[in-house]
Each structure stands twice: as structure tokens, then as C-alpha cells.
Assembly symmetry: C2
Homo-oligomer: 358 residues x 2
């Protein structure tokens, strides 16, 4: 094991503190890298706040890591010291099931290990405690299978959000064939996920409708690729989009009435839920039956899809809009995400700028 530092919460109500943590030394199949930047995701806030009731403290959040390799194990041929790499939500899995074999580690039969607050059980990562510590930290060591190469020329500070928000949108677009273009895609919620959804689905050749409860986002949404803007709080705006969409990606992570979006779907349309919400949805099946509609869920994506996503972003010049913050800003950023997670700009923690703080 080796020591490094991280910013952690010691409880749901505490503020961030700098602590010392342990990580496993670089094994034969591992990559160790200095984290330079870590994106801040709404899920970080849910976890720190113990919204799922399973948070272990100290909790070091962060699953949008981007940095530079400092050491590789002897079996690692794909990466070398100095390479620019990233790590997203998945840092371990069984590596021996249908999901893992297909490069869909997010569907690992035994459950993948999350970057932080994840149960350590597959044996390829260690922290000295029973759970993982995330990317609000100096250094990370992980099996090379879970590392993504950041393409030359892609800005390092903007890479992290691609590995979580990006692939979260990319994976359902691919699964429901929007990567072949010509699909009428709707994106609900214009936050960190939404901005990636707009840019990705437009770059794939689809017609894109942005759906938001904030009228003041129309301009930004159109700049990011939306062909049309629908104000979800305005019934005439919603009516104007009636039955016009084949695929809706709903990024909103507060409980809401799904039935409001079904009228936007054309026959045989699919509504994909992507935000973390806990209350059950009352789904009326007659509505699904009469128009052959589907309600689905999707969660991030596997490692090969994550690499495909950042390569696609690089090729299409899709760069997440970000704002660099330091550890001193964290509590304020968290408060904003708690009240309304709808900024089109992703906050990214600048580890270098923060390293002497807190």
C-alpha cells in the first residue's frame, strides 16, 4: 500500500476535509496515475449526503478522473509513464462473466465496483478499508482494464466528464441505434448529462429536441446542437412536440411524473431514464400498449464504450463545457447541485490548484 491525500466527508453533514488515505501499490496489471482533474457529478452529492443509505465514511467522491500515468505494472503494455489517462465510474469487476467478456462491465453479473463508496470484492483494488476512495485525490491505482486513453489533443481538464456524463448518454444512443443517425432524439434536463446528450446526439446525425423547465436555457441548448427547444412547464410548448420523438433520454435526477413525457413519444418510441431517483413511478400500461411505447433504464457504459465515446468526442470536437473549481468551492458547488442540478456547465475540481488546500 502507499499513502496519498484526498478530500473527504466524514459524515453526511460535515464539510470536506483533507485526509490521508491508502491505495494498493502498482501490481503487475495496474496503472498508477496522478489525478490532475476530477469532474463533479450529481451522484457525488447523493452519495456524500447518504441518500441511498449505504454511504461509508470517510467518503472520498469523484468518478470523472483525468491525469498522467506515473507507474505501470510489468504486464501493462497499453500504457506507459507520461500517458494521459482517465478513469470513470467502474474500477473493478469480476472479469469473468458475460457482461465483462463483452466489454460491458457495468452489467457485471457480480456487480461492478464503483470508483468510490464501492464494495471491494473482486480483488483488483484495495484501500485498506472495505470500500473504494474516488478521485478528489492526488493519485489513483487501478487495473489497466479500467483505464481509458485520453486522445492526443483532447483537453485534459474536460476529459473527466466524458467518462461519466458522456458515456451515460453515449451508451443509450448506441443501444437504441441513434448512432446511425436519423433518429428524433429528445434530451430532458440540461445539466451535465444533458449538454453531452445534445452534443453527442447531434454529432451522430439526429434531430435533437432539448426539453427543460428553464426557459433561459434555450439559447445555450441551441448552441450545443438542439434543433428545437421545448419548455416542459408550458403546456402549449409540450403540445407542439406531441408524438415527435423516437427516443427520449431523461437525465433528471429528482422524482417526477414520467407520464408527462410519454405524449412526446411517437409510436414505438422509447423513454430512457438515466437519473438516479428512488421513488417508484406509477406506470400505466395501457398507454404503453396503445402506442407500443417502452420505458427503459441505462447506467453509464462499459470500458470499450467509454473509450469509443471519448474517441468519438475527439473526432467530432465535442468538448464538455466546464468550469474549474478548487476544493474551497466544493461545499458551494454541492449546495447548487442539491437545489437544482441544471447547470449546462460541468464543475471540475482542479487537483493541482487545490493540492495545498483544505
Amino acid at each position: 500500500m502507499y499513502s496519498t491525500f484526498a478530500w473527504a466527508k466524514s459524515g453526511a453533514d460535515s464539510e470536506f476535509d483533507r485526509i490521508e488515505i491508502q491505495r494498493n501499490k502498482t501490481g503487475d496489471d495496474d496503472v498508477t496515475f496522478d489525478i490532475k482533474f476530477c469532474g463533479i457529478c450529481g451522484f457525488d452529492v447523493h452519495t456524500c449526503d447518504n441518500d441511498m443509505g449505504d454511504t461509508k465514511y470517510p467518503c472520498v467522491p469523484g468518478h470523472e478522473l483525468a491525469g498522467v500515468v506515473t507507474k505501470v505494472g510489468k504486464n501493462v503494455v497499453k500504457y506507459k509513464v507520461g500517458d494521459r489517462v482517465g478513469v470513470g465510474c467502474i474500477v473493478d469487476s469480476c472479469l469473468n462473466c458475460e457482461g465483462c467478456d463483452n466489454g460491458e462491465e457495468q452489467l457485471c453479473r457480480k456487480g461492478f465496483t464503483m470508483n468510490y463508496n464501492g464494495d471491494i470484492k473482486h480483488g483488483h483494488i484495495a484501500t485498506g478499508s472495505g470500500w473504494t476512495y474516488g478521485g478528489y485525490s492526488r493519485s489513483y491505482t487501478v487495473h489497466s482494464k479500467f483505464v481509458v486513453r485520453i486522445p492526443d489533443g483532447f483537453p485534459l481538464e474536460a476529459a473527466g466528464p466524458v467518462l461519466c456524463a458522456g458515456v451515460t448518454m453515449f451508451s443509450p444512443l448506441v443501444h437504441w441505434k441513434a448512432n446511425q443517425g436519423g433518429v428524433r432524439v429528445g434530451i430532458v434536463g440540461l445539466g451535465g448529462l444533458g449538454q453531452m446528450g445534445l452534443m453527442l446526439s447531434k454529432a451522430m446525425g439526429n434531430t435533437v429536441t432539448a426539453i427543460s423547465s428553464s426557459a433561459n436555457k434555450e439559447t445555450a441548448a441551441k448552441e450545443m446542437g438542439a434543433d428545437k427547444f421545448v419548455l416542459s412547464t408550458d403546456s402549449s410548448s409540450m403540445s407542439s412536440a406531441s408524438q415527435t420523438l423516437d427516443l427520449i433520454l431523461n437525465t433528471v435526477s429528482v422524482s417526477q411524473n414520467l407520464n408527462q413525457y410519454l405524449p412526446l413519444l411517437a409510436n414505438k418510441g422509447v423513454l430512457v431514464q438515466l437519473g438516479v431517483t428512488f421513488a417508484p413511478h406509477p406506470v400505466h400500461q395501457l398507454e404503453l400498449m396503445f402506442r407500443k411505447l417502452s420505458i427503459a433504464g441505462s447506467l453509464i457504459g462499459g470500458l470499450s464504450e467509454t473509450q469509443d465515446c471519448i474517441d468519438f468526442c475527439h473526432r467530432k470536437n465535442i468538448i464538455p463545457k466546464i468550469k474549474l473549481v478548487t476544493v474551497k468551492d466544493l461545499d458551494g458547488v454541492y449546495n447548487n447541485l442539491r437545489t437544482k442540478n441544471d447547470s449546462l456547465i460541468r464543475n471540475v475540481l482542479d487537483i493541482e490548484a487545490s493540492k495545498l488546500m483544505g
Copy 2:
């Protein structure tokens, strides 16, 4: 208009009575046929009982009609007097929308007109009242667009159930690609829909699991094509099928907890709801997200799909198991369907044998 007879309910609590009804005379685009047989569907019972609260009385149910053409309009070239034809759930639609243009009249933007208890609004059918009368009747007249040809050699008495129960299963099997074979299909509920689901999905080249709450159906299910039988009330039987199915077609038409079936789905699997139920389902989206699952609905199929279905059945020698009943048996049959709609044998009303009754 012309007069013919039918068996009708005058209220939710009444028994069947023979009444005289009016139908439109054979227009230029119409086909008139003598109904010889009419299958009895669970939906007939829901409607007669006014379960949806929209039943108009007198109510003449029946949407699995099979008979012989007695007259055709001058524009009709596809059918002639003496042809064996059938009519299913759809007897009118706008004929001028995306759904109708694609042969998916069940998705008609203005709403298709149901064979019985349907609002008369598109102008191609008439009864003298504001609503349609179904197939428990001597004669029917309908636009030729809504007529299906019964293949030579296919037993007329078994054709009706193909036009409702058959296409109800055929359409989702096609939509979710099981018609190409190699899909692991589960069929929940072994009634009239279930038997068609087993036979169709097996004939398409899939691996088929029958899922029922009745242990005594195992033999019959396997005779109809099931490779495996799962007893839904037995937790070890359900566990043995964990994550083994790509597509589940759930035919059960009483409210039930959908979440019991999701563990049977493999990653990226789809649960399709086909039965008419009214209570909303509490759907937890995290379960959908973690395994990229979908919950969908499907309702019958369009006319071209219905023709494809009965042609496929004829080619593959799929004949619904039926039991002929007369109008004197109707009240008893309805009571059975009300308590547990799980007979693998479809009841079919023999109009010829009943014509002097009631």
C-alpha cells in the same frame, strides 16, 4: 342499412339475449360476410362487465370473426363471394396517417375503431347507433382494408383466435426481433394468448420458457413448444431461470407486481405487457438502469401483420387449440374467464350451431 341478429348484453349484470341490429349495406369498398365462428377473448368479458367504464349497451362483443363472403362492393378486387375471411379487433381507422400508411392501423393517430363498443368516427362503418357491434352475430360488413384472407386449408373455426390472440403475440415477437430466431423468449400466462405465444415463438426458432402459476400446465406447455417450464409461485423455480430471458411477453390480464419478472430478464432484456390491466405499476428505475432493462406495451397488430400472422401459422401448421361452444354456454364461459383466464384452450362461439338459440 340492413338487419341481422346478434347476441348482446343490455347491462353489466344482464345475461346474453338475442337482439336485432343494423349494419351498413355493402358499400363500394366493403365486404359483407356471414360469420361462422367467433372466438371469445378475455377483453370481451372486460367490456361486457364495463370494467373500463366506457361500455355502451346493448353490447355485442366478439373480435375474432371468421366466415364466408356473401357480397363485395364494386371496388373490391381482393375478395369475392365464397371466400373465407376473418376480421379482428380493428374495423375502421382514419386511413390517412403514419400508422395507417404503414399498415399499422392499431397505431392510427386518430384512434382505430374497435370491432365492438368502438366509437364510429372515421366514416367507413355504421350500425345506426354511435358504436360498433361485434362478432357474436350473423353477418358483418366492413371496409375491405380490415379483412384478412384465411389461407386455404386452415380450419375456419380456429382462424378467429389468430386474428386477436395470435397477432397480439406475433407483433411484439416481430418488433423485438424474435422472428429472426435465437432469442430466449419467456411467455407469462398460459391462456389463449399464451398458447399462441408458445407456438409462434417456438416456430420462429427461439428458445421458449413457459411461466405459469399453475403447475398442472407443464405438460401442455411443453406439448405446445415450451423448452422449459417455470412455476411462478415457486421461488426456487423462479431462481433457476434468473437472468435467462431476452424477451418476456406477459399476457396476464390481472394487476400483478411486474417486479417479480424483472429478475428473469438477462441484461438488456425487455418485458412486454400485453394484458389489459388498469392499476398503475410501481416501477423502480434503478433496477431498469443497472441492467439496461425495458418495460414496454404492445396491443394486437396492424392488418398487414395480421395477414402475415395467419399466413405464418398456416405455413408452420400452428392451429390454436379451441373448444366450440354455443350461445347457451356463454354465461358459464364468461364466469370462468372472470375468475381465472388461464385455459390453454380458446373458446369459440359456433354461430351456425347457435343461430336458433337465445
